[in-house]
């Protein structure tokens, strides 16, 4: 591709968000160029742990314009989701250019100049769909090098078989940590979860309705009503788990999601195993020792392996135009789902993780972005 040619839209990332934007554009008659550094679409989803299912229901987890087939389970398994992404590419005849990495993006009079491993490209619109899980977040603790066991990030965890018979510490009780702890226990390991701060726990389904569907229903009500009602309802229906070492946060589920971007643990059985003593709960790590960790209550917890379920970071710093106005202090885009008037044609999609579902939000954002791009052409 010659660098002189001006492309209309470049989508960086061939995961669900990027494909959603390209699909939504296709529906409006536009063809976007998609690049991804990996060799396959949805690469992150191919390497997530084996037993992962979407935590949101299929009705609210599809990309624009293509529902799941009727025989897809309600909570889509990981492998089925990957097949769905491949089906989406075929459905809209998208032709992602795989194995093409983006090195830098800078502004030009016509739009943006994107340096890629396949040469430079000039584009009017650039859409970042690299996801908030581009780079694993790997915290470090004092004396970590003393530890005789292994430390891995959840990105490298497939299943619990290699840990059978071991004491394993899972750091973090997000949805990944909660499910990996179940998986470890089911594979014959003795897991404990390290929980540093208060956490909300919601059942996956309540009265036959999924946590996601309840949140979508609530999101239609006015904000003042919801914030008042939700705390009330939570106290009523969510049990107090402080005797298990799980403190309830001072703010409601909703406030925690909106203000701190912290998603509650959607419980698929972790709490039941904690209650039965099959999964332990320990406070935050202070430092490592040879045979385990010292936690903040002074105990030494012995373990042969540590799994960091500490999440991901978007790691956008290197690949956005170098300007303080684009990313916030945490490295997340200040504006997403649309463009900032100061940066016309520069879009971010899939960087929100609302309680109504990240995939649902990405699909909504993708459609909005497609409409904006469609309007810019006129």
């Amino acid at each position: 591709m010659s660098s002189g040619e001006l492309l209309e839209t470049l989508v960086i990332g061939a995961g669900p968000s990027g494909l959603a934007v390209a699909g939504a554009l296709k529906a409006l008659g536009h063809t976007a160029t998609i690049v991804d550094a990996a060799a396959e679409v949805g690469s992150v989803w191919r390497t997530h742990y084996d037993r992962l299912h979407l935590h949101t229901v299929k009705k609210h987890s599809n990309l624009p314009g293509l529902p799941y087939s009727p025989d897809t389970p309600k909570y889509v398994p990981r492998a089925t989701f990957v097949e769905y992404l491949e089906g989406y590419v075929a459905h809209y005849a998208l032709a992602p250019r795989l194995g093409v990495a983006v090195a830098a993006v800078e502004r030009t009079p016509q739009g943006y100049r994107v340096e890629t491993s396949a040469g430079p490209m000039n584009v009017r619109n650039v859409v970042y769909a690299t996801g908030y899980n581009r780079a694993p977040h790997v915290p470090e603790w004092p004396d970590q090098s003393e530890f005789a066991g292994r430390i891995i990030h959840s990105r490298d965890y497939r299943n619990g078989a290699p840990f059978a018979g071991e004491q394993v510490l899972v750091v973090g009780i997000g949805n990944t940590g909660g499910e990996i702890a179940i998986d470890l226990w089911e594979h014959g390991a003795q897991p404990s979860i390290c929980v540093r701060s208060p956490v909300h726990v919601v059942p996956r389904e309540f009265l036959g309705r999924s946590a996601q569907e309840s949140s979508i229903l609530l999101s239609h009500l006015p904000e003042q009503v919801v914030s008042r009602v939700s705390r009330w309802i939570e106290r009523l229906i969510l049990p107090d788990l402080s005797d298990l070492g799980l403190e309830r946060p001072a703010v409601s589920v909703r406030e925690q999601v909106i203000e701190q971007g912290k998603i509650p643990l959607i419980d698929i059985g972790t709490i039941d195993l904690i209650r039965q003593g099959m999964i332990g709960v320990v406070p935050g790590i202070e430092r490592f020792s040879r045979n385990g960790v010292h936690v903040t209550d002074g105990r030494e917890i012995l373990c042969q392996s540590v799994i960091l379920a500490t999440g991901y970071r978007p790691a956008l710093g290197d690949i956005v135009p170098q300007d303080a106005g684009i990313l916030d202090a945490g490295g997340y885009p200040r504006v997403h789902g649309d463009h900032d008037p100061a940066w016309p044609g520069l879009f971010f999609v899939g960087f929100a993780n609302p309680i109504t579902g990240a995939l649902r939000e990405a699909a909504l954002e993708a459609q909005r972005i497609a409409r904006v791009i469609h309007g810019r052409k006129a």
């Binding site: 059978a164 089911e186 594979h187 014959g188 039965q276």
Partner: protein, 343 residues
């Protein structure tokens, strides 16, 4: 204790465990299951280490079970107290116990065995079914890993007995499991059953399963498809059958069954459907039981039998029972620095 105990066995539906201790039998061992006042479940060898009284004759007090004979008390981890001789600190043999999928499961404490994986998030659970069959483990399992009997023995889940020769059988053995796929013409069904499952009279019945051996259980998927287009019918049953040897001559089936949601559930008829489905399954299992118990020779040996093309899984299963089930559960057994703080 026998090596088989290192595998997780389901032994009691949770609903059958109230405040009274429940005695049961597994692998020739008498076991007592009890629920403490905080709701946790304990499993001990059903014999007081003092004078061999059955602990199941006792009662629960706080977090302990109290022997009826001399009042000795034992916690879930077997640690005991002799009220009259406090320095004794007696110890009863105990099992690790957990409640999952509506049942109490037990194994040797600290074993690295894997817990059977239930993939049933979107299904409706049918109440647990149990049935004791007078025959040894392998002989009972035989009946449940071949479909040749389904035409003649069963009423619902079976093939047309006159077209048994058309039934396709595919056996795929792997190191630790045994997969079998069968497809063929469904036997004639009454119209109301066809309506319930949304079937046409010419449909093909698919009976596929995967047998596991840590512990011995088989996961069945029962479904139907159009004979010509092979288009799948929406209704579907997934059943987990665990084969618990009570002793050398008796085997218990412990059955967890799951069905796809039916539109009748939406009308509040879920419970009726659940119990109806359970009734159908129960009837089929009773028919199996009658046949197995009427066998002239119930020895586990296959020597001298003339076996058909449907019987290949029988030998494969026996090899895996010996190699996997009758051995201590495998796992990456690294030396452990200290005992766990559990219990």
């Amino acid at each position: 204790m026998r090596p088989e105990f290192t595998h997780w066995h389901p032994v009691l539906p949770s609903v059958e465990l109230g405040s009274e201790p429940v005695p049961l039998r597994l692998l020739g061992q008498e076991i007592v299951i009890f629920r403490t006042e905080t709701g946790r479940v304990g499993a001990l060898v059903d014999m007081c280490p003092h004078r061999r009284m059955r602990l199941s004759k006792g009662r629960v007090q706080g977090e302990e079970i109290v022997c009826q004979y001399h009042g000795w008390r034992f916690a879930r981890d077997g640690q005991g107290v002799s009220p009259a001789t406090p320095r004794l600190s007696p110890c009863a043999d105990h099992f690790e116990a957990v409640e999952r999928h509506g049942a109490v499961w037990i194994r040797t404490p600290g074993s690295p065995s894997a817990f059977p994986r239930f993939d049933v998030a979107e299904f409706t659970a049918v109440p647990i079914l149990r049935c004791t069959i007078e025959a040894p483990l392998a002989v009972v399992l035989d009946n449940f890993i071949e479909v040749e009997h389904t035409g003649t023995t069963h009423e619902l889940l079976g093939y047309d007995p006159d077209r048994m020769d058309e039934v396709e059988v595919r056996v795929t053995p792997s190191a630790d499991a045994l997969e079998v796929f069968n497809a063929g013409p469904q036997k004639q069904l009454p119209w109301y059953i066809r309506r319930l499952f949304g079937l046409s009279p010419s449909d093909q019945f698919i009976d596929e399963w995967r047998s596991h051996f840590s512990p011995v259980y088989t996961v069945y998927d029962h479904w139907w498809r159009d004979a010509k287009t092979h288009k799948r019918r929406p209704k579907f049953l997934r059943t987990y059958v665990f084969f618990n040897p009570l002793d050398e001559t008796e085997t218990e089936l412990f059955v967890f069954s799951y069905a796809t949601h039916h539109w009748l559930n939406g009308l509040g008829l879920g419970p009726v459907l659940k119990w109806y489905t359970r009734g159908l399954l129960d009837r089929e299992i009773q028919l199996d039981k009658e046949m197995i118990e009427a066998l002239a020779d119930k020895s586990e040996s296959l020597k001298g039998m003339s076996l058909s093309r449907f019987d290949r899984p029988l030998g494969e299963a026996r090899r895996r029972i010996e190699k996997i089930y009758r051995q201590p559960a495998a796992g990456a057994q690294r030396p452990r620095e200290s005992a766990s703080e559990e219990d």
